[in-house]
Amino acid sequence: MKRILSWAAIAVGVVYFFLPLVGMLEFSLKMRRGEYSLDAYRSVMGDPQFQATFGYSVLMACLTIVFGVLVVVPTVFWVRLKLPRLRPFMEFITLLPLVIPPIVIVFGYIRLFNTSSWLPLTGSALGTDFLLMCGYAVLALPYMYRAVDTGLAAIDLRTLTEAAQSLGAGWITVLARVILPNVLVAVLSGAFLTFAIVIGEYVFAALLDRPAFGPYLVWAGGNKAYEPAALAVMTFALTWACMMLIQLATKFSKHTRMPH
């Protein structure tokens, strides 16, 4: 009886989760009357605005990942090595982006960095891009921090650092040659999560008025019939591809397997 009930619960869950997806997929294939076709996808791919916004968001995602890694890895490394008492504080800080709504953050940015402020970042496209990247990095911080922190917890940070130092390595070398390679898998999983977040993000890009993929999705949803379904399916596929890449990265790190 219990088994039947739990199977029923799983079935309900699966239907609840997958039915809309299947429906959306089916709908995205029905652009041509009377038969299934990939016309909607072809139309999306051919849309220059899609190409521009998608390209922009991919670029922003990559920049955000690089920026996030450069900020988070050395910080977590230093806190774990020299200021372990600050760890609870770090945990708290890095949770804030999950608690504070993005709209609040972005309004804060606009107030702080508008054209009449001490640092008028929003005055130029490039400055706004930089601001947007920082915003994305903040949104991704909870995931990036946790991924890197878990990665660093798995290695004997202090002894490895000291071993490298006694062999002549300075801080940069320690980070680049010893720490980063050993937390690469963790960093990668943080990176893919960051990618997934940035690709779908709407609020920041819309309010800072940058030509990103999120606002394009919303615009397409309001102005086209079949293409939004195709776009949604593609976005889902991309996110899942990221998840699978995380799994693969974990699998292919041959040296992190421990003998005991």
Binding site: A164, S166, G168
Partner: protein, 355 residues
């Protein structure tokens, strides 16, 4: 002046003074062990030499150069850790070549030096493996090769053998000492295992509570301990009370029997002094009837017999307390039975007078 010179080193963590005025000179090519109980400051001294801790007071010189305030990566010192600390993402060869690469040594020379080091540690074919594919003993040998590859001025080892099983520990001892001799590298070895310290070192520093209690060759430390702590920490020790009869002539009585010590005693007539005896200087006389009147002999009863192979450790109960003694195993002389009445004999020159 010594090659490695530690002068009046002190180290405090907050209000806790961990190292209190530590002096040591190590000659070039010498192997010195720091031996002492847990928490006595051995690792702290080593970490100050390596540069991971800055002394609160004092100076460290290597070959005449003051390195007290140099960063660890500027000191050219090799370090081997208890936990191996090999870089898990690098192969054995890359680990060994790590220091050379940082020093800017050419690829060809690095490869040659790495091959030399791997041959030296007896793992010539393991260069392509990753650390997790090696046993603990092999990992520690690779760590040694990695520390030695950049030709450091000083080699520091912090309990490098404690994480290994007993058998490998003993064989690696000899191997490390061999390599150290071959390269003639000045070495400080930290351990809390006295057997390790005594068997490997040119000199041993016995530490207690942040101070060096005695510095000397193993033979010296074992046979002529300067303080009660050294006597008791190094080796097994039996203690007996004796009453001084003639301080200048070194005459005492133990349990009413006269005993002459080779040196004068720094105590007044009639005072009680502590005598210490190593288990191997006490002889066991099974046939008490053989003892002639006037010879020194303590009556005793066998309380425990531990057969260790080459050595048989016997515990005997006397009026002055329990005494441990070691007998060499001989096929024609079985150990005495429990409860047997025996006599214990020892010579005045084998006795250590405890201060």
């Amino acid at each position: 002046m010594a090659y490695l010179d530690l002068t009046a080193l002190q180290k405090s963590f907050g209000a806790n003074q961990v190292v209190k005025s530590f002096d040591l000179g190590v000659a070039k090519g010498e192997f010195v062990s720091l031996l002492g109980p847990s928490g006595c400051g051995k690792t702290t001294v080593l970490r100050m030499v390596a540069g991971f801790e800055t002394p609160t007071v004092g100076a460290i010189k290597i070959d005449g150069q003051d390195v007290t305030h140099l960063r660890p990566n500027q000191r050219n010192i090799g370090m081997v850790f208890q936990a191996y600390a090999l870089f898990p993402n690098l192969t054995v060869a890359q680990n060994v070549g790590f220091g050379l690469k940082i020093a800017g040594v050419s690829a060809a020379e690095t490869a040659a030096r790495v091959a030399d080091m791997l041959a030296l540690i007896g793992l010539p074919d393991m260069g392509a493996r990753y650390p997790f594919q090696l046993s603990g003993g092999q990992q520690q040998r690779v760590a040694l090769a990695r520390a030695l590859a950049p030709r450091p001025r000083v080699l520091l080892l912090d309990e490098p053998l404690s994480a290994l099983d007993a058998k490998i520990r003993v064989s690696l001892r000899a191997e490390i000492r061999d390599i150290q001799r071959k390269l003639g590298i000045t070495t400080i070895f930290v351990t809390h295992d006295q057997e390790e310290a005594l068997s490997m070192s040119d000199r041993v520093v016995v530490m207690n509570g942040g101070r060096a209690e005695q510095v000397g060759a193993p033979f010296e430390i074992y046979n002529h301990p300067k303080t009660r702590f050294v006597a008791q920490f190094v080796g097994t020790l039996n203690t007996l009370d004796a009453i001084v009869i003639d301080p200048a002539g070194g005459e005492v009585t133990v349990q009413g029997q006269p005993l002459r010590l080779p040196q004068p005693i720094a105590a007044l007539r009639g005072a009680t002094v502590g005598l210490a005896l190593r288990p191997e200087v006490v002889h066991l006389e099974a046939d008490t009837a053989q003892i002639s009147r006037g010879d020194f002999a303590l009556p005793a009863r066998i309380a425990a017999v531990q057969f260790l192979g080459a050595v048989i450790r016997v515990k005997a109960e006397t009026a002055a307390g329990e005494i441990s003694l070691d007998l060499f195993n001989r096929p024609d002389a079985p150990p005495p039975p429990l409860g047997a009445e025996v006599a214990l004999r020892f010579r005045g020159q084998d006795v250590i007078v405890l201060a």
